[in-house]
Amino acid sequence: MSAGIEISLAIILLSVLFSLSSSRLMTLIKLMALQGALVSLLPVLLNSANKLPPGGIALFLIMLLIKAILIPALLYFALTRMAIRREVEPLIGYHASVVVGLGLILLATYLSRYLQYSAPGVLALMPITAITALGGGLFLMMSRTKALTQVIGYLMLDNGIYLMGTALIKRTHSHYLVELGVLLDLLVAVMIMGIILNNINRAFDDVDTLDLEQLKD
């Protein structure tokens, strides 16, 4: 089963890189759905040796539902409502972004060496993927101008944190309960972002956050 875990981790890593180089918002949303599905399935794969109680399975199902279906669907509707298709509009170019992403992987590998000491017995790829997703999300937020990309970056950040939690904390029920709570917060955040996006769109005829500079005094 270890191979399955490693493969899904690798796919997550690649999806982070791909999202940094993607120029289309729709692609980004699809990537997020994929990433969310993989991330929420990972704990199940890790725990496959021991039998999960029905309550645990229900929790993971809810998580899968929110991360892989609900949030991407909301983003999809936001995108279609606002009728924008492409134009991620990077402040930092796609190629440079990919280079940054690779640098992030290097940094993550370096950092995860320290984590290995503090948490032995964890799959080596796990913290690397987690930190890369975290940094990638932050980078996405910093380097793109469309407000929707900020939401996606935030989602990726949350995926990274979730992975980190899975990697470091002893897996028990209650831990995932906390995660679920965080996830609900995130869902609300996405909805609020949707409203704000709508307002930005109405005010500026675009969701470019650079327009928000006009609001400062």
Binding site: L91, L138, M141, M142, S143, R144, T145, Q150, T209, L210, L212, E213, Q214, L215, K216
Partner: protein, 654 residues
Amino acid sequence: MNFLLFGLFSILLSGLAPLLLVRRTHLAKGVHSALLAVGCALGLCGLYAASQAGANTSLSFAWLTFSLSLSVDSLATLFLMPLFIVSPLLVLYSYQYLGTSQHTVRTVASYLFFSLLLAAMVLVSMAADMITFVVAWEIMSLASFLLVLYDWEHLQTRKAAHLYLLFTQSGAFCIFIAFALLFAATGSFSFSTEAISALPHSLKLTIFLVALLGFGSKAGAMPLHIWLPHAHPAAPSHVSALMSGVMIKLGVYGMLRIYFLLDDPAFIFAWIILPLGMLSGVLGVVYALAKHDIKRLLAYHSIENIGIILMGCGLGMLGLAAGDRVMAAFGFAGGLLHVLNHALFKSLLFLGAGAIQHSTGIRKLDTLGGLMRRMPVTGRSFLTGSVAISGLPPLNGFISEFLIYYAGFLGLRLTGFNLVLVIATIISLAMIGGLASACFTKMVGIVFLGEPRSKEAALATEAKPAMRVAMILLACICLLIGLFPAPFIGAAFAGLRDLAPLSSLMLSDIVSTISRNLTMAAWLFLALLLGLTGLRRWLYQGKPIQRGSTWGCGFTQANSRIQYTASSYAMDIVDFFRPLVRVRTVYKGLAGNPLPSPAEYSSKTDDLAEIGLQHLLSQPVLWCAAKLRWIQHGRIQSYIAYIVLAIIVVLLAA
């Protein structure tokens, strides 16, 4: 203690009940006034019971992880007394002063905050540990801030309220620091002298200085007074009266509480407090002379009176340090009695100012005039308050100032620097008395005598009955204390009973002699006054009296503009203090033009402390902020980058 708690409960209820009666303005007002009056009456009973019980009555209960404890000692009793006496009268006044039916919600909200402020002040006085004190102190500050905001539509009001909030919160910050220092040194939140008095002298001095910064800004001692002249004109009059008459005294209360907790009779405390008192006293009254807005002028008089109270306390501290406990007792008792007296006459004056503003809509002295004939009750009670605040017999201000003078005269036995300080205090007190009389002759003369200087003043009508009754009652209490001072002097000395260094002092002989003499002097003055009035009436009997326009100076076509103005009356005295008071004059005159042409003259005085604050604090801060403005460019991406940077820095530092 039970009475006090029931009183507190009733006061709180008086704030909450009107919320349910928003639609019935009169019922809400009535319920509020009645409950509050009952609460204050219960409070007074409680004070009486506490003073009879003798020992410190206390009560404590748990809240979160702290225990809140309340106790009433003699010092708290003295500070609670003016509160329970004055506030029912203020509520009576506000019954007809506060807005009419279209402002019901606002009125009800102001009732809530008024009750909250009262309850918080009671709790501050009763607090027996730091947590209770700080919680009550914050509620007090915030409630009074919201009360100042009553007329929030005006930009001026909002600015004043923000200034007040700034001062009160930075003051609270200093108090927190002082308490934190105390807690760090003793490990306990309670106001217990045993642990605290063992601290080293330097630490005690630091704590006292930091606390003084906080309490001084609440009390309005001179360099920290800036909020007072702005907040008082902005607030409704009865709120100004409560804040100026009672609330700022709690700053003095806090200072005294800390001083007696530290239990360190060193000269240095007196050397700090006495000059502070002199500065506040003299400059307060000089600025008051220079200002021509009724309420701003009264606010500066509050600063002056805080100065007098501080002088009394400073003389007390000096007496303790020098081992002269009689002098100490007279100093403290004088200061404490002045707390009560100032609460009475300053409330009276603010209510009078409110009545004038209510009836004319004017606060500027130079557009009023001739109100004594149009508002006889307001005018006469205002005059009573003016005589009292100037410290003239036979009214109450004289009694407390005399006690402070007496402490000063006892202090003449000291030597060296202390003697110089005592002499300077006596001179300042005398100067303050003279200048205050000058200031109030200006005020009464310009506002109530002469001819009206504007249409509004000419059309003024007497204040409404509830307002009149409140003012008359306050004036009567002022006169009562002036004519029968003995029980009040006794109460002031009884206030020192629970203060460790003064508890075993037996002064009854000297105190009763002095009260007897003071009583006699007051009655003599009253007899003289009545006798002279009677004589004048008798002499003028049967003679024809011709009435002309005031200050008409024989002109047949005298108009109101040839009268004295407030500035022309005060300028001689203000000029003398020129380096301390900055006067800006604008004169567009007849320079080089021999023919008559329009001329213009105006003068404005600036507060030195305000200028100092602006130059030393706000301008540098604004300059730095302007230099750092490029950080705020409104680009979300960079803000996220800031956050990431901050997290990385924190992680690396950790």
